[in-house]
Amino acid sequence: MTHPKSSRVIDARYLEPPEPFVLTMEALDTLPAGEKLLLLLFREPHPLYKVLKQNGYAYETELVADGTFEILIWRP
């Protein structure tokens, strides 16, 4: 799946916890330098934010009209 914000997309919108978290962590382990990962969810993942901050990642979240949170993650 591709998206205007990134070609690396995890669509976790209909997945049960902890699957979105696990998939995101796996994808970040193989994220090439300079690339961004886009996570799609129906809620804001505050626990994930904390792990991202602890591991030196930056993120930017946008809530779009249909109720999807688009979380763009990269290593600054």
Binding site: Y14, E44, H46, V51, Q54, G67
Partner: protein, 431 residues
């Protein structure tokens, strides 16, 4: 990194569980009270037994579970963390338990000293809870409709508390005041701005997450909580101006807003991707259906106020909205939260060496479904007992007590499982 799974910010399991295990006991007490009170107990909303039972449910059951659940979900839903979760939980739990009993006793025995004592205990307890949760969440930017909703729900609780304390002190000191209008306003803040907005804000997260439905649309989600608070502010203004028409207009708006949310949630549930209809799903269907029915009663009464001249109108509204709506939605959520918390804490205690049992095995579907049928039976009997109290009220009270006792037993079974597994983990390997 999986082991990190937000666990470091979750309060210890004892913090929320004490609330969840105590709440059903208040349900049992309310049922036994109706069983013992005699057939006139629900003849009007103002009988001592009706007022005592109402507060055993709203403070003893609803506020109890909502306070515990909010302390649990705050870190996950907002990123805020409570400074000292366990001591705060102990104090709030103890205060709510003693305060709910004192208030129910004051209503039942008409004790002025009891009302003053209840005002002091509940006032201090809820203020402490607001200080702890509000302090944690106020500094957090409102980046989602849920965070904004939770902040407004806490403001709603502050409003309900202030009016409740004023009412209790009025009853304790024999002050002269428009008691029915103030009691309505207190109920409006408590059920609409606190319980209602809290439910809405939490639904934004848990309905898509637990039932795998599409999301609530962003724009409406942002607006619904401020609209409810706005209505309550207008209602307060109408009260201050002594305007009955203004009050009814606002009540009508609140009813329409609430019905809109409930109908939309039912629609989301129909689009869910989880095929199985478990106890939570059924509880939510009935809870939302009851909420729509109760709000339709509120709307009807706003258009035709003479309907409330029948003494049973408000007790029936209270049963359908409280026991049918809020309690069904709350129990449905408890049946997800308690097994999940048990699993989460066991999984982390096992440190990846010993795996926790599957969530569905921690509290199997069968006992939940049977308890749910008992709750629905009690609900039908309670509603029928408003119309035919003579033969039915005692039976309805008994059924309600049984359903709540069953809920306590189901929740306790997960605690026993938790203790068994923790004891097994504590044994040295190979022992």
């Amino acid at each position: 990194m999986q082991a990190l799974l937000s666990f470091d910010r979750a309060p210890p399991i004892a913090a929320p569980l004490r609330f969840f295990l105590t709440a059903p006991l208040f349900g049992v007490l309310a049922g036994l009270l109706l069983l013992a009170a005699g057939p006139d107990a629900l003849a009007s909303r103002w009988t001592p037994a009706a007022l005592a039972a109402t507060h055993l449910i709203t403070v003893g059951f609803m506020l109890q579970v909502m306070a515990g659940a909010l302390m649990q979900i705050l870190p996950v839903a907002t990123g805020a963390s409570l400074a000292r979760p366990l001591p705060t939980a102990r104090l709030v739990h103890g205060g709510l338990t003693v305060g709910a009993m004192t208030l129910a006793g004051a209503f039942l025995f008409g004790s002025p000293g009891g009302f003053v004592a209840a005002a002091v205990v509940l006032g201090a307890t809820v203020a402490l809870f607001l200080f702890a949760t509000g302090g944690a969440v106020l500094g957090i930017p409102s980046t989602s409709p849920t965070i904004r909703g939770l902040k407004l729900a806490l403001a709603g609780l502050a409003g309900a508390l202030a009016l409740g304390v004023a009412l209790a002190l009025t009853l304790g000191n024999g002050w002269s005041i428009n008691l029915p209008a103030l009691a309505d306003l207190h109920a409006g803040w408590g059920l609409g701005a606190w319980a209602g907005i809290l439910l809405v804000a939490i639904s934004y997260v848990v309905v898509p997450m637990f039932q795998l439905t599409p999301p609530y649309p962003a724009r409406q989600s942002w607006w619904l909580p401020p609209v409810i608070v706005g209505c309550l502010l207008l209602w307060s203004l109408a009260f201050a101006l002594g305007s009955a028409e203004g009050t009814r207009l606002v009540q009508g708006c609140l009813a329409v807003a609430g019905m809109g949310f409930a109908v939309f949630t039912l629609r989301l549930q129909r689009q869910r991707r989880r095929a199985r209809a478990d106890a939570t799903f059924r509880y939510w269907q009935v809870g939302l259906g009851c909420a729509i029915a109760a709000l339709a009663m509120l709307l009807l009464a706003a258009i035709r106020p003479e309907l409330t001249e029948w003494g049973g109108w408000t007790p029936l509204f209270g049963i359908v909205f409280g026991a049918g709506g809020f309690m069904s939605l709350i129990v449905g959520m408890l049946y997800k939260i308690v097994p999940f918390l048990t699993w989460l804490h066991l999984q982390n205690a096992g440190q990846g060496r010993v795996f926790a049992p599957n969530v569905n095995k921690i509290l199997p579907d069968k006992p939940m479904m049977w308890q749910m049928r008992a709750h629905f039976t009690a609900l039908v009997l309670l509603a029928a007992a408003v119309i035919w109290p003579g033969p039915l009220l005692a039976l309805a009270g008994l059924a309600f007590a049984v359903a709540n006792g069953w809920l306590a037993a189901n929740l306790l079974s997960t605690v026993r499982l938790y203790r068994r597994h923790m004891a097994a983990l504590a044994k040295p390997a190979g022992a």
